[in-house]
Amino acid sequence: MSSLDSVSHPKSMSLATGISSPWWRSPLLWKELRQVAPLAIFVFLFGGGLLLLTLVAEAYSGRLNAAHWTGHLMPWMSLPIFFATGVGALLVGSEKDSRTLQWLQSLPISAKQIAWNKTIAILLSLGMVAALSFLLWLLSGVLHGVWPLTHPSASMDTDSRWMFAINSLVSLFLAFAGFAFAWRFQSSFVALAMLVPASLLVWLTAYGISWFFDYSRPDLGSRSYFGTLLVATVGLAVDSWRQSQRYLGVSPGGADGFDSWRWLFPWKQPANAALLEEQGVSWLKREPVALLTGMLWQTIRQYRLWWGAVALFGIAAIIASSRIPYDTPGYLLPLSRYDTEVASTLLYLLGVAVCWLGVFAYQGENIRDRVRFYADRGVSPRLLWVTRHWVPLLLLIGLTLVRYLARGFSGLSGESLLPAMRAMDAGRFLVIGLAIYSVGQWVSQCVNSPVVATVLATVVANAMIFYYLFAVLSLEAPWWLLPVPPLLFFVATAWLMQPWMERKIDWRFKLQQVAWAAVALAIPLVPGTIEIWNMPRMKGEVRQELTALAGTGLVQGRLVDRLPKSINYYADAVSLESVPGDVAANETSRRQLRADLIQRGWDAATVNRWLGRGGIRIGITEMISLRKQLEAEEQSEGTQGATSQTEYRSMLSHFPKLIRDLRATGTLRLCDEAEQLEVALLHECRLAESRQRMGDRLFSQVAQVLGESDQRDQARKVALAIAWMDLQQSRKVGTTRWGKSPGGYAPDQFFRYGSIQSGGLTSLINNIRMMRASELWAQDLWDLLKLSGAEDRKRARVDYTNNLGLFLTPPDLYDDLVWLGGDATTNSAIPCQHWRGDWEEAAKALAGMPSRSMQSETEVESGS
């Protein structure tokens, strides 16, 4: 049973007359609600889509969390506003278009009941849309991990309260304005179009009031706007009631204040059979014209007032906004209040007008299936398409020329006045205008109802702004692909003109429209999607191996969770007065450290004890200092300094065990420190007199540990696996804090690995790249370990350092030079910087060298 059927049911009649049932069970009310349902659904589909798009973008940019919840209501308040724009006009206008209002009048339902139910339907549906928008806002907050109502952002200041109140009232104003105009005017289109001047009138009045008094006074602008809106809303509510009663109670063509202007509105003129015949005969007497000319003439006659209105408004808006400078950055010359509030609003409204210009393209023929006239006579769909767009497109180009000229005479300074700049500005204006128009005309062909089409086209045009932001910022779409969606919208309507003319507006037609739109919207996203698709990921087998390694339990005494932070073993002077004391304390500490490092039994020291003495780096530098001291003694005395040599040997003797202990920790950072020590030991071993200074046995021990490439690699793999697992478990909390310290390093050293930042933080591609950075890092290192050729290794290491953003030269063997690292501090530690350096080959070769006899070593020792 249709809604109208239910209304005509006897039971409904009794309800409608209001004898026994409450108003909210009135079938008439349900009929009204069902009538506005499509508009509500469309608005919600776009609202939900927008929410989804925003959430996806936020999720991939790491902003879907409590820290990034702003609680802004505006995006969600715009949904009721869009709905309110069409609801009033839809409830009356569509019934006028389909002539069901007369049928409704024929039923035993009073005019008051019809108007009352429509009013209730407006308020109820608007309330429901507002409630659903509120739920979407709540859902968005929950998905961010906050309860929006108790979040600090929910506490509104005075400005926010005014904004909230004004926006709520704007919805009511638009709904009642549309309702009142729909009763007044025969066409729902006119009713909708009249919203623009009505809104402008209210807004300019409020603006004028605040300007007249003192707009710098706090809240005056908001107060005057709210007051003006309130008065206008109440006035329009009363007027809508009056008009409805007049229309329904007296006669549809009853006298009102607009009658004297009737000649202006062709659709208001009475249909007089004699007059029509007379016109028909006179037209028949005219010279026959080509089909194109005739169809253009028909189009012009049909839309001349609309186009005229859009043209006039467009020219006014362009002239009014022509002083917005193009080239003046805000920090140099802030835009005036007029530019930011009036001129930009007028430009936005011009965008709406252009969108509606697109809607006109098909809605004129949509009403009562007028297009059948052409279809039945075999008119070419292409010709119809061309004649519908000819003048509007001409109008758009004309407005572009006006824009170009207006900016030339606007007194702009600087670059804005240059013809080239104006041409570029006009070019952008034309492209944006064509894009908006294309959306309007596409929606117009998709939707039969003029009201729904008009509102929906506005919503879709606004949604397209977000789409373009998503395409350009998030998916880095190239600019030359951006015109594709508007172009395909034009192609879609041209392609589907025939079924539309034949009124085959079935699911197949709609599916084709959706397919065209999907393709149009998808094309600019293709390059970005391909880039995401081709983004390197960790290979499955590597993932398995790393997972297995991390879980083997081979690692003893992991230090990840208790890795000491940087130790200030030596301290700077606190003040000028404390300098002698602090300098002396540092001297004492150094003597103690030396004593520790050279003492017998220190080889049993745990890694923690080493770290407690300031770290491995101090050990390396002390070893070099001691050797330098030894060399100096050798040069000055001509013989080896016995004490220094003993200390040197003693210190070196601790290192093999330390290196193995460090490898066994499974902590990447400690493994790296072990390798740094290995590089330093390699250097010691490569010195001319090294074997003699160390003694053969110690030399062999050191060479042996340096030659343990398999053990080193195994330790690397385990440490890498553990660090990778830690990275996987790391969760960024907010913007700065990370849950874990993977491998003993700061997590932010990894998350930019290989990510050539582009498009800023909003880029989805960039964010996905960063999300996969840890995988790429582990994969690259894994691959590096498998490389054997010297050139391949070198290239891979350069790539690795580039991907890591490493500026320092990693300690390694460079030709004949061993680079031991410069002013390396704990803060500049770089993960895996020694992996597959040339030093490894040299270390392996060293281990393969024949050792001297134990005898000679004994000689040296006894000599010492």
Partner: protein, 420 residues
């Protein structure tokens, strides 16, 4: 009859009404105008694209300019540097990377709070001196040095003495100005060629302090020379003006009459205070970095004109700011360093003038008669008080350019006397 007439009318050749002709004409004219505008807009986009391309090329060209005829930075450093002492230097830097050095050197270079400030102290001293009838006698006295190396000379002597071997090693390695080869990772324009010589230069400066305390002019001269050479050996890009310890060391030596007369000309020549080419290179480097940041942060999908507009309005500002700071701003770091160097040069010139003429100059402008390379120095920046033809007071601390107090750890007001 009417129907027949109509039929015959319909069979006529279709006419083109005037309005249609007008519409067609308007359409053609509008399309031509729009086409012109579109072509112009397109040319602007093309020009913007070319400009962006030019900027991109310029950034890489600036790198090529740095490289000269070489293909890569590796070739560049191979040709310009010597590997002779590289390994020794690497060991030295590794040794000095011990936090012990950092802590000790920082402690011995500690600067205390300027309470009372030098200016106040000086004013008080002058007033007191004037009251006593001797305007210059105690002007330069520094009763309570607020810098550790001056307050604790014994500590410095002991520290440098203990590490004489290290100082000697640095002296031995600094036999010439030859740049030292260091290995690097070739990252193209992003290659970092920077060696931290802070600890070594601080140690050498303390060596100068020790030599001054020992009143050993040859040793002072040697260590100042080594300090200068240390900077030059690792000054791959020509940023020499940043050698601050050398300037302090020179003033210290002059304060104690430890600078040899023969060395004055040498130092005036070697203190390269202001090199516009270096500054231009720095601006070029800044531009390159700004452009890199722009490429990373601004979506490539924007139309070229919009990208260029964003570059000019946001990113290029940093370049301009950098250029402005370096070249024009009185309070820029460069201006501060330059004026420090100028102060030392003027002081050297004053000593030379007094030696030649056996009198102090009437004003600083008279220094131009020396024929020394003092061009470009703003002499008005320094205060000079002529007491009589044998004595004057010169302050090498600038009057207008605000230089932080820590740049002048010792009294900057100098008594100039004609020595018999």
């Amino acid at each position: 009859m009417r129907a027949v007439a109509n039929q015959s009318t319909l069979q006529k050749h279709p006419a083109t009404p005037l309005w249609m002709i007008s519409l067609m004409a308007i359409t053609v004219l509008t399309l031509i105008a729009a086409g012109t505008i579109a072509a112009r807009a397109w040319s602007v986009e093309r020009a913007a694209q070319e400009e962006l391309h030019r900027l991109e090329t310029e950034t890489s060209e600036s790198w090529k300019t740095v490289l000269g005829s070489e293909q890569s930075i590796e070739d560049w450093i191979e040709k310009r540097t010597s590997k002779q002492d590289s390994q020794e230097w690497m060991e030295l830097f590794a040794e000095l990377s011990n936090p012990y050095w950092r802590a000790q050197l920082r402690s011995l270079l500690t600067i205390g709070d300027p309470v009372p400030s030098q200016e106040e102290e000086r004013t008080t001293t002058i007033n007191e001196a004037e009251l006593e009838g001797n305007p210059i006698a105690d002007v330069s006295k520094d009763p309570s040095p607020r810098v550790a190396w001056k307050r604790y000379p014994d500590l410095v002597q002991r520290f440098v003495g203990e590490h004489e071997e290290l100082v000697g090693r640095i002296e031995r390695l600094c036999g010439s100005d030859q740049l030292v080869y260091i290995p690097l990772v070739d990252r193209g324009e992003g290659t970092l060629l920077d060696v931290n010589i802070a600890s070594a230069s601080q140690l050498l400066f303390l060596g100068v302090v020790q030599a001054v305390a020992e009143r050993d002019p040859p040793k002072v001269a040697k260590r100042l020379e080594v300090l200068d050479r240390l900077w030059r050996k690792f000054d791959y890009w020509g940023y020499l003006p940043y050698c601050t310890y050398l300037i302090t060391g020179l003033h210290l030596a002059m304060d104690h009459q430890m600078l040899r007369k023969d060395d004055r000309h040498v130092w005036i020549d070697r203190i390269d205070a202001y090199d516009s080419q270096v500054l231009e290179a720095m601006v070029a480097v800044q531009r390159r970095s700004d452009f890199e940041r722009f490429r990373k942060e601004v979506p490539a999908g924007f139309v070229p004109s919009l990208r260029l507009s964003i570059y000019r309005s946001i990113f290029q500002r940093d370049t301009y700011r950098m250029a402005d700071t370096l070249l024009h701003n009185l309070n820029s770091q460069n201006a501060m360093l330059r004026v420090r160097h100028d102060g030392a040069k003027v002081r050297l010139a004053l000593l030379e003038f007094i030696d030649r003429n056996q009198r102090v100059p009437n004003d600083l402008m008279e220094l131009s008669t020396l024929g020394m390379p003092l061009g470009g120095i703003d002499l008005g920046e320094f205060s000079y008080e002529l007491m009589d033809d044998k004595t004057a007071v010169f302050d090498y601390r600038p009057k207008r350019i605000q230089v932080p107090d820590e740049y002048y750890p010792i009294d900057t007001r100098v008594n100039l006397k004609v020595e018999p």
